[in-house]
């Protein structure tokens, strides 16, 4: 890596202890404690909750430390800073990278105005197990979609230059394979072949590193027995050497300390040493400061490795322009959403909504009498996982409906809580009987997804399914709107509903966006970024699974009748011995890419530019073109998400049955009559 003159001079000047200080980020909620931390030489801090407090910390760094090196100010800006956008999984459902880029740009502008310079986002872990709570923080099960959305988010955060007043450094996380924990249980073991790592888990990271992501975060999990915070082969050999990543590898919170319970380090100093050797640059949590200094001397840590790590940190500070001006104008701090910001996240929330089923009940056509029920009816818990107390709150859907449907007779009876609560189901059923439509707002509260929020049961929690089935049994059409942070198992009630919208956790403007969708002012034309399983036992059920030698063509059947190959002959029992579950229909409830909208489309026969192309031409950069004519056959403007899946018919390895290689969301006007 080429180093600036400033960085070379600082490397010469810095003492050993000062260097180790640059290689840590530590959280201290109290500002005076944080100031002392900076005075003692810490290189990075967490955001102290205001521009003024951030400037105070930078002032200590610049004026009260020997070399006056400013600090990096980190914060988990995951889907918005003050104005909260839909959760990343929802953003993926938009199938619109420009939405993801614009939301990240907004988050960066708000955060940087407050002095934040470094976010720990995007998460580009390919996530194929909906039990894992952190599926909400990423872009779902598909490699290509995750890579494209990750790129878009990096572009949005970092802009043209990190020194800009509306840019922050992005962190691609969690390197690597964190999305495949055994049993879907957070922090659990990962074992992945080189084939799986290269073709699935590493690919989105390769893409965002190519896009210029400033930093990469190591994952909590092991890969092949080696915790990622101590995994030299992947951190150094692949990420830094093979891919030429010149940015900062940061640890996850206490990920270095966790090497002790992982069983690969005997004490804190050893944990720090193995992480440093592996290629970790910045430790998160303060383990180096807490270890015995004598155990982390230049005789125990490779000085060249330490210098390399320090140079990476200083280069990031330099790229952010912090050596020129570490302060932000306090009067310009953006503490409230602007009208433009609200409009952006509201549009994004509607674009992220997926119409799972619809018999024509949606959009609503001015029903005079409506029952509004379910735990989300009056809740304001729309922000989703990984938002903090300073985020701009959301309104309730019931309030939004009252203001948007003033002439409608609205009855609001939540009937049940998310997890349990009072039994209002009989009241809701009684109220449903004279209604034209019932709107059920159901889902998971935000706390049920995110970090350390794995579930073993993927159904709606509490008594929500019972509520849906019982109001549906009245015969009045039931529209279910789901807000959740993962794919759910909906098999026990989905057929009872007239229409189902997956709205995810939509952020600050979720309620307005949901009503936009219900009334047809916006179209729920998103697509699922993760398959919805029929039952939890069907997981993993991602579409791009490897071709098996015995693909099934029908679902299974539970039977006591046995099959005798001698009597029936192998050909006649062929379907018996195919890859399926005896007690499930074939395939997921809803596959990746599923969804529709309020318009209707026909696709012409796709045309290919070349029937044949020489390998050498591809290697020179030539491409095969595919054209398809899409026609809007409805009477309203609408969005279609055109998806192209590749089948590699014969390969040297068992290929995925299909894999997404291109997609495009387009607004298409109706064909002139």
């Amino acid at each position: 890596m080429s180093q600036s003159r400033r960085i070379r001079m600082l490397l010469d000047e810095l003492s050993w202890a000062e260097k180790l200080g640059q290689l840590q980020i530590v959280f201290r909620p109290d500002l005076h404690d944080a100031e002392q931390l900076v005075r003692d030489g810490i290189g990075s801090v967490f955001w102290p909750r205001s521009a003024a407090a951030t400037n105070a910390l930078q002032r200590v760094a610049v004026e009260e430390t020997r070399l006056g090196i400013p600090v990096l100010v980190g914060l988990d800006v995951i889907h918005g800073h003050r104005t909260i956008a839909p959760v990343p999984l929802a953003q993926a459902a938009s199938f619109d990278p420009s939405v993801v880029r614009d939301l990240a740009r907004l988050a960066a502008a708000e955060a940087r105005s407050a002095g934040v310079t470094w976010t720990f986002s995007p998460m580009v872990d390919v996530s194929r197990d909906p039990r894992w709570g952190r599926v909400v923080e990423g872009y779902g099960e598909d490699v290509h979609l995750t890579a494209e959305m990750g790129r878009a988010m990096v572009r949005g955060y970092q802009g043209e230059t990190l020194a800009a007043s509306d840019a922050i450094a992005a962190t691609a996380k969690h390197f690597v394979a964190y999305g495949q924990p055994e049993g879907g249980r957070d922090y659990n073991t990962v074992d992945a072949s080189e084939h799986r790592l290269r073709n699935v888990h590493l690919e989105p990271f390769r893409a965002v590193v190519d896009e210029g992501a400033a930093s990469v975060m190591a994952a909590f999990n092991t890969v092949g027995g080696r915790p990622m915070h101590a995994n030299r082969r992947l951190l150094t050999d692949v990420l830094k050497s093979e891919w030429g990543f010149g940015g900062v590898i940061v640890g996850d919170a206490d990920g270095v300390r966790n090497l002790i319970p992982h069983g690969v380090a005997g004490d804190l100093a050893e944990a720090v040493r193995v992480a440093c050797v592996a290629g970790l640059d910045v430790e998160m949590g303060g383990a180096p400061s807490d270890a015995q200094a004598a155990e982390l001397g230049p005789d125990r840590l490779d000085p060249a490795r330490v210098d390399d790590a320090v140079a990476r940190v200083l280069a990031l500070k330099e790229a952010l322009g912090l050596f020129d001006d570490p302060f932000v104008p306090e009067g310009d701090e953006r503490t409230e959403p602007t009208e433009d910001a609200r409009r952006l996240v509201r549009t994004a929330a509607a674009r992220s909504s997926v119409l799972l089923t619809n018999d024509g009940t949606l959009p609503l056509s001015n029903p005079p009498r409506v029952l509004v029920t379910g735990p989300y009816a009056e809740s304001t818990d729309h922000l989703g996982a990984w938002t903090q107390s300073f985020a701009a709150g959301a309104r309730s859907i019931a309030d939004e409906l009252r203001s948007r449907m003033p002439r409608t007779d609205l009855r609001v009876i939540p009937a049940v809580g998310f997890l349990d609560g009072h039994d209002g189901i009989p009241d809701a059923v009684a109220a449903a009987r004279d209604r034209d439509v019932v709107l059920v707002f159901a889902g998971e509260p935000s706390t049920l997804s995110g970090e350390a929020a794995s579930r073993s049961d993927l159904r709606l929690p509490g008594r929500q399914e019972e509520l849906i089935r019982q109001v549906a049994a009245t015969g009045v059409p039931v529209v279910v709107v789901l807000e959740n942070g993962r794919p759910l198992v909906v098999a026990d009630w989905i057929d009872d509903a007239a229409a189902v919208v997956e709205a995810w956790h939509g952020g600050t403007e979720a309620a307005a966006a949901i009503v936009d969708v219900l009334l047809g002012d916006a179209e729920p034309a998103g697509r699922l970024p993760m398959s919805f399983p029929r039952s939890v036992g069907q997981v993993p059920i991602h579409y791009a699974h490897e071709s098996t030698g015995r693909p099934a063509t029908t679902g299974g059947m539970l039977t006591e009748a046995s099959v005798d190959i001698g009597l029936h002959g192998p050909d006649n029992v062929h379907e018996q011995y195919t890859s399926k579950y005896l007690d499930l229909e074939l395939g997921p409830q809803f596959a990746f890419g599923h969804g529709s909208g309020y318009a209707a489309f026909t696709h012409g026969t796709p045309r290919v530019s070349h029937g044949e192309i020489p390998l050498e031409a591809l290697e020179r950069g030539e491409t095969v073109g595919i054209d398809v004519v899409v026609t809007n056959t409805s009477d309203r403007s609408g969005d279609e998400v055109v998806q192209a899946y590749l089948e590699d018919v014969v390969s040297s390895v068992a290929p995925p049955v299909r894999r997404l290689v291109a997609f495009e969301r387009r607004t298409i006007e109706p064909e002139a009559p």
Binding site: S193, E194, H195, R198, N199, R527, Y543, A591, F592, G593, H594, G595, S596, F601, H603, T605, P606, R607, V608, H610, G611, E612, I613, P614, L615, L618, E619, G621, E622, T623, V624, G625, I626, D627, V628, V629, V630, T631, E640, V641, V642, Q643, A644, Y645, L646, E647, D648, V649, V650, S651, S652, V653, P655, R658, V661, A662, E664, R666, I668
Partner: protein
């Protein structure tokens, strides 16, 4: 409206991990592209890399 995609080596290839160093390769042969508004409603076109 016509929607167009361009597929090159990046889309057609994969990582081969049979050797010590993983390699990104495109293998000659038949490819089938399934295009549609959802995975369940696609139409296929074929082309061959030789």
């Amino acid at each position: 409206m016509t929607v167009s995609f361009e597929l090159g080596a990046d889309q057609l290839g994969f990582w081969a991990t049979d050797a010590a160093d993983a390699r990104f390769i495109v293998e000659p042969g038949l490819f089938r592209l399934h295009v549609g508004g959802t995975l369940e409603r696609t139409q296929a076109v074929e082309f061959r890399v030789r």
